[in-house]
Subunit: 318 residues, 2 copies
């Protein structure tokens, strides 16, 4: 991994599945984990320790965590989302040590999403950090939601985000994910916010979590990459959109991200063909899920000269 | 128009229609021109003076040119594509003065596309330039095809493109379009080539023509913008893909380009809502055409707070 290379964190098993009402069996989830890891993905969010009444899809969070950890996937960083202390405790008991705590930078979204003010969320975060006494190898990443826009409050000033990061920093946290929760960001804002974060907190590892709701996912990822963000979330098939709205775009498609970066000679370490196979496998298993991935639609990128070689010549003009 | 603003050249009437086998009536084309211009688009390629046997869609090129010029659309720069001297003569006789001459930078694509070597194309270009004697207000833009990749030859070295530009420059040409004819480019290459062009030829007006074949259209446009390119081609609905391949992406969607730039506070001067109405009108007229526009799919971008105000509240989480 040189300085220019990028790491993809695959979040389909968490963000990609959480909007799917029908329960996906734990066996399928585990198989997906295995296949995704085999394609070269080295970072995965595998489940969410939420109240199973709120999100029944994650009723198997503990079983999923145990199964994945038993596989001891070499070199793969595995994490789970936790919305509160209870979730963190359950995750730890299941063996998880990398936890993503989620908090929105907009007050109204935080109340809507986790039923807490941001002040209450920070109190909860402190309680989770106290668990380090019993679990010294606990690592907390803060997933900062609505950084690039909130469905209730609109644009969020970068300073609001930076002030929160300062508080997390003072709590000793060095792992922060900047999330465009609903896909409101644009490349200019992404660049500005990311650049401020990296300048003010040079020893924090920042990652970015983008949604492609309005088609700007790749352009926003490019903008983040150009400022220096080297850890990007994605979901295979662009999963994570609303399951009731055909074509609704979800997370940025991991395939599209890998394709863009590799085309730019930015190494991802992932075998795109293999990942696309896995993506197609899940589409087969769950054929009513909305897929949104350009590369998956187009198929295998045309290699040099292949158009003539395989006989499928097509007329193109300017 | 300040330095940061961008001009969109709408090419749906040429590149967007040329793959559609069924003839679109001249009346519909003229109505599209009128509607597109009314939405604020200030630059349009309206037809192609090709052999009507090769592309029957443009059998009405002369009528189209005359009708559009009769409308005297204030402040709208109107151009037509010409592949050869014959086309240029026909275009001039129809009253057109802004002509786009097309030539590929890859030898095999040029032979395939216009049945000429690049040397022969340059000879043809010289003959067209000789027409200036009779038409002193003739303006020629060179549309350089396959700059960011050729289906037969693969990657094209930027130096190949720059050498051709030098020859065009020495012929007195100052209006050059860099085209990613088949959508092979990536943001890194786009940046590199555009930066070299702008540095070596500071008094040339460069524009960019991108296809979204592999989903990188917007990211590539962003890259071109960042190097300083301020004139970007687009086609409403992302038209221009293969009409026989559902979902095949064509030109970058003008709607998506406008959306991205306006979100970034880059002014385009276009009313996106009105342009989207026109796009929907054409989809209604010609409902078997492949549309590919994120914003058109998603619908009107959600304004601040609208999700709660109109009652269509939706649960989002990180």
């Amino acid at each position: 991994m040189d300085e220019s290379s990028v790491t993809l964190r695959e979040v389909m098993l968490r963000d990609g599945l959480q909007n799917i009402p029908e329960f996906i069996s734990t066996d399928v989830k585990i198989e997906l984990f295995r296949l995704i890891a085999a394609s070269g993905i080295r970072n995965m969010e595998i489940t969410s320790f939420v109240n199973p009444k709120a999100v029944p899809q994650f009723q198997d969070a503990a079983r999923m965590a145990q199964a994945v950890l038993q596989m001891k996937p070499e070199g793969v960083e595995v994490s789970a989302l936790v919305p509160n202390l209870k979730g963190a405790q359950n995750a730890l008991e299941s063996g998880m040590r990398n936890l993503g705590f989620v908090m929105s930078v907009s007050e109204s979204h935080n109340i809507n999403n986790v039923r807490r003010t941001t002040a209450e969320s920070i109190d909860e975060l402190k309680k989770i950090l106290d668990l380090k006494e019993n679990y010294p190898d606990l690592n907390i990443r803060v997933g900062m939601a609505t950084v690039f826009g909130c469905p209730f409050e609109g644009k969020i000033k970068p300073r609001v985000t930076l002030n929160f990061i300062r508080r997390f920093y003072d709590l000793g946290l060095r792992d922060i994910s900047l999330a465009d929760t609903v896909g409101f960001g644009n490349p200019k804002e992404v660049k500005e916010t990311c650049a401020l974060c990296l300048t003010e907190f040079p020893d924090v590892t920042f990652s970015i979590h983008l949604h492609n709701t309005r088609g700007l996912g790749l352009a926003n990822s490019l903008a983040a990459y150009e400022t220096g963000i080297r850890l990007h979330d994605g979901a295979i098939g662009g999963l994570g959109g609303c399951p009731f709205a055909p074509g609704a775009k979800g997370n940025t498609s991991t395939e599209d991200l890998i394709f863009m970066f590799e085309e730019m000679d930015v190494k991802t370490g992932v075998n795109l063909e293999e990942l696309m196979e896995t993506s197609r496998y899940f589409k087969m298993v769950k054929n009513n899920v909305c897929y949104s991935s350009s590369i998956l639609e187009v198929g295998v990128p045309v290699p040099q000269g292949a158009i003539t070689k395989d006989g499928s010549e097509q007329k193109w003009s300017i």
